[in-house]
Symmetry: C2
Subunit: 112 residues, 2 copies
DNA sequence: CAACGAGTTCTACTTTGTAGAAATCTTGCC
DNA sequence: GGCAAGATTTCTACAAAGTAGAACTCGTTG
């Protein structure tokens, strides 16, 4: 990762999806959230690979299935955002804000 | 690049720096802008490599040195953001906005 | 038990991100 | 003119992130 906690673009998207999904954050669901909200295709492999990287960076933790209820279904891996993950997210947002601050694009209006 | 015009994190930062610098966007200056505004180290090699990639994607165009004034100094390569580049930037911002919309982090307040 | 569906793992590869030294070109100075 | 110095770009090499899609697992159901 090099220097400070840098977040790749997709990593950020996945992290945000996990944050939003809360108790319901597991692979397939995360993927659906991304495709739905971001309107961007995401293959399941990409999602998991990214999740692994986030776990390695300690931005996301695995486990903590919701409310003890032993679900009858399949073995799902649930994820939650860690404090460090939240900070990384906030840092990314701040950086974003600083870089955009006061910037006016010369206007790429779509043709009417 | 795969699917649609996706922008990597650093690519986005560089592109924003070029947009902001306007007529004064050339390697060293871009680097300084990034270090200053983003508060993030950027080696000159990284900046140029990224610039090349942005040119290849047609998000940035090379040339168009400001106002004909033959500067006495060195041969600088100036860059400007293309329409496509502006769109990519706007798309990235929109995506960002959608992913953050209404999201509340559970609060990683720093200890007092 | 075989087909099925929901989920996760794996494998292989392309793009991006980084670092830092090397090469260029100008200008100032002796 | 030759040479050091400063500004700037180019090159080389490699690590990290992004992607795709097939394979594999394990309950459920007919």
């Amino acid at each position: 990762m090099g220097r400070s906690g840098y977040l790749g673009e997709f990593e950020q998207i996945v992290l945000l999806a996990v944050a939003r999904l809360g108790e319901d954050a597991y692979g397939m669901r995360i993927r659906a959230e991304i495709e739905g909200r971001a309107g961007r295709k995401a293959t399941i492999g990409a999602v998991y690979a990214t999740l692994e990287r986030l776990v390695a960076k300690d931005y996301v933790r695995q486990g903590d299935a919701p409310g003890g209820e032993e679900r009858s279904g399949l073995a799902r891996r649930f994820f939650t955002v860690t404090r460090a993950g939240e900070s990384a997210l906030e840092n990314a947002r701040d950086l974003q804000t600083r870089m955009w601050a006061g910037l006016k694009l010369r206007g790429a209006r779509r043709r009417s």
